[in-house]
Amino acid sequence: MKSKVPKTASFGVTGQPKTYRGLLRGVDKLVKTIQPTLGPLPRLVAVSTTPPDRSPELMDDGGLIARRIIQLPDRDEDIGAMYLRHLLWRIREDCGDGTSTAAVLFNEVLQQGVRHIVNGGQAMPLRAYLEKGARLVYDELAKMSRPVEGKDMLVHIAESICYDPAMAKMLGEIFETIGEYGHFELRSGQSRGLDYEYTEGAFWEGMLHSKAMINQLAENRAYLENAAVLATDFVIDDLHHLVRMITEAKKAGKTALMLICSTISDTCIGFLTMESTCAILPVFTVNAPYSRQDYQMAAIEDIGVLTGGAPMTRQAGETLESVSARNFGQARSVWAKDQYFGIIGGQGDPRKIRQHFHKLKNLHASLDSGETRNIVRQRIGKVMGGSAILWVGGATESEIKVRKDLAERTAEAMRGAMLKGILPGAGLSFLACKPALQAALQQAVDPDEAAAYRILVGAMDVPLRAIAANAGLKPDEVMADLKHAGPGSGFDIFRKQAVPASQISVLDSASVVQAAAYRSITAAALLLTVDVLIHHKKPETVLET
């Protein structure tokens, strides 16, 4: 029977040794929920839903599971758990995968680090040495990575991540075609299975302003060939401006026009859809993509480069009165349908397009993570031309959602693999970092430095141990088998035996493994330096018990 107990969350300060105890308990609780999902033979985690009468969510994605845990009852534990949760979600967002690996590494480094500190070690130097060790692990993994070659390898990588052969086959085919930067979209399908299609050229989100502009009724779209393209962030509400645009387009020898603008007035739409106007110059208008101004400016810039027209933007000091021939780009064809518009065969200067392409690639490489990096990658995909859409079906909405999430993180990890290469999976790449860490350990003079490398040497076993446990094996026996098999061996989790490393069939994206290792170690190192926890006073809440 449920009872409601009022509980006051008062201001509070926690010091050592309670700080470490609380943090460790919180981290451990979170890691225990995620650890079963690690490896090629993972277990699922069921998360209850709100309202509780619905079917629970079944998950094998560490990042998503962590995301579902929004608070632990104990406030000290909560700080540790939320710190790890945030780290895992960032890794999931940036890399698509690697969250479970990061969780177990984080936990091991934190636990062993705390043990060293309570035995007289110094937190700040330990942190610095762990960060140095994290860099060493990162570099060792980079040395081991090899490039992705061919569709078969892409399919293999995809299967190592999603364990869904049908999805892996499609994603392999798609990413071989669109490349690491290619534009890829996931949409809910009508059927129960998976399907994919390619779209020619580049497309953006941007609504056609009026259905009266649709000229291909069978396809329910507006379509123009050999069309001029005018991109602007202005609102077009003055008929005089519109007439001037059409006049200038005609003067420049244009035979059709796609106008991309912020918004357009009904009067102007009425004018454009008049038969007499269409006879002079067929025009359709669409919304400029993105509501956020900097993203919109970037999209308008891309459209300008692709089509060879100078965009008319307020930022550039342009006005609608100043429209001239140089503002009109050109494309082999343009279209607008539903919420999207597209450009096929932009006639911009190919050298400028390639320069722009390289500029964006450099920008992408300079960004570590986050939404801006994703936007830049999307821009590169659009400049490259061509998009792939994967239609994901299923028996229920929740099945579709789960498969879309799976496809999304598999795709993200595949991009990483194409950019940074692949590594042998199932924990083998971490084991291969041990010799370099042991060499550093032997050279260490400072006790905190030696402790840092000792912690990392031990931590390199942890992913394989967790994978083995999840596969129903005894981790100690697996490690003993590996030791007996000698250097250059790995453990095949499917065959349940030690084999030469070259025969390990599971592959991991190098970018995922590197990010998981580096971020988990440095994040744990930072948490080791926390001595005091402060809790804010919160308003009285009613918690269900």
Partner: protein
């Protein structure tokens, strides 16, 4: 018959795959397609069976061996293709949708997988011997294609397609399904011509550029090195390669190298070639005892190396 050939622009040449037994050659002009059944001495209109009311500019040609059948011929033109399955006796027009593409180059892998470069629409791919064509431009940042060539698969690998564009080179290792740009000098202008030769196990590919630069790759188009530096003053408009030899045309100049571009000499200094050279064909290789067909913007020649 040569007098009748004047005032044509011979933009492309092709010859029968079984040239030794059947010395049939084709020449594309701005008006029609010409055929010669005697190795290039005498020419006649090949498209009479179509009864065309207007001239058809032929811009690219391909002649392919078909097992147990006469050669398959594909001619690129403004707006589509012409196709003949009986060695050029009869032709069918193959439209390829709008906007109408201008075909600039053709290449094939066998007689089924065909590839066409276009002036503004990138690459068209056919997987049924040229009956149906679709644009396939993933990764192709530049859609202005001047030349296309296929490097045969070596060592159990995939065949490599290379496309010369206005801004450089692109490469595909999956039958034109996806293209990736190649590290190639940016300041040499458009890559107008490509030629492939196989000597032993190794295929060599040459690329001629607008600036007069000539490049060579011996690793499936991964990396390129300049050859014949300072030899050509005008654009390298067309080249043909065979074995260790490569014959290169630049305006009215014809130069040959028999050692993969290390040394060069003029090809037949006595031949009076008038007009810019637009097309070359070496039906029996670049052996000095075999004739080479040279198409210019005014005439077509059948000449030997001197």
């Amino acid at each position: 018959m040569e007098n009748d050939l004047r005032n044509n622009m011979y933009s492309c040449l092709a010859f029968s795959p079984d040239f030794k037994r059947q010395p049939v050659c084709f020449a594309g002009t701005q008006h029609t397609l010409l055929v010669s059944k005697d190795g290039g001495s005498n020419w006649q209109d090949a498209l009479t069976s179509l009864g065309l009311a207007e001239p058809v500019a032929i811009t690219a040609l391909l002649s392919l061996t078909q097992p147990t059948k006469p050669p398959l011929l594909v001619a690129g033109m403004v707006g589509g293709f012409l196709r003949s399955e009986d060695g050029g006796q009869t032709w069918q027009a193959v439209p390829c949708g709008s906007p109408l593409p201008v075909i600039t180059a053709l290449a094939a892998s066998g007689s089924v997988n065909l590839y066409a470069g276009t002036a503004e629409d990138g690459i068209l791919v056919s997987q049924d011997g040229g009956n149906k064509w679709v644009r396939w431009n993933f990764g192709l940042v530049d859609w202005h294609i001047f030349s296309i060539a296929l490097l045969p698969a070596t060592g159990g690998g995939q065949a490599t397609l290379v496309a010369g564009a206005e801004s450089g080179l692109f490469r595909s290792t999956n039958n034109g399904h996806a293209w990736r740009e190649v590290d190639f000098p940016e300041d040499v202008g458009a890559v107008l011509t490509l030629g492939v030769s196989s000597a032993g196990d190794q295929a060599v590919i040459y690329a001629g550029a607008e600036s007069g630069a000539l490049f060579c790759s011996q690793n499936d188009g991964h990396t390129w090195a300049p050859v014949a530096e300072g030899i050509f003053e005008a654009e390298v408009s067309v080249l043909v390669a065979s074995g260790n030899s490569v014959l290169v045309a630049s305006h009215e100049q014809l130069m040959v190298s028999h050692d993969r571009g290390r040394s060069w000499k003029a090809w037949n200094t006595e031949a009076q070639i008038a007009g810019s050279i637009l097309s070359l064909a070496a039906p029996q290789g670049l052996d000095s005892s075999q004739p080479v067909l040279v198409g210019t913007n005014g005439n077509i020649y059948r000449i030997y190396e001197k």
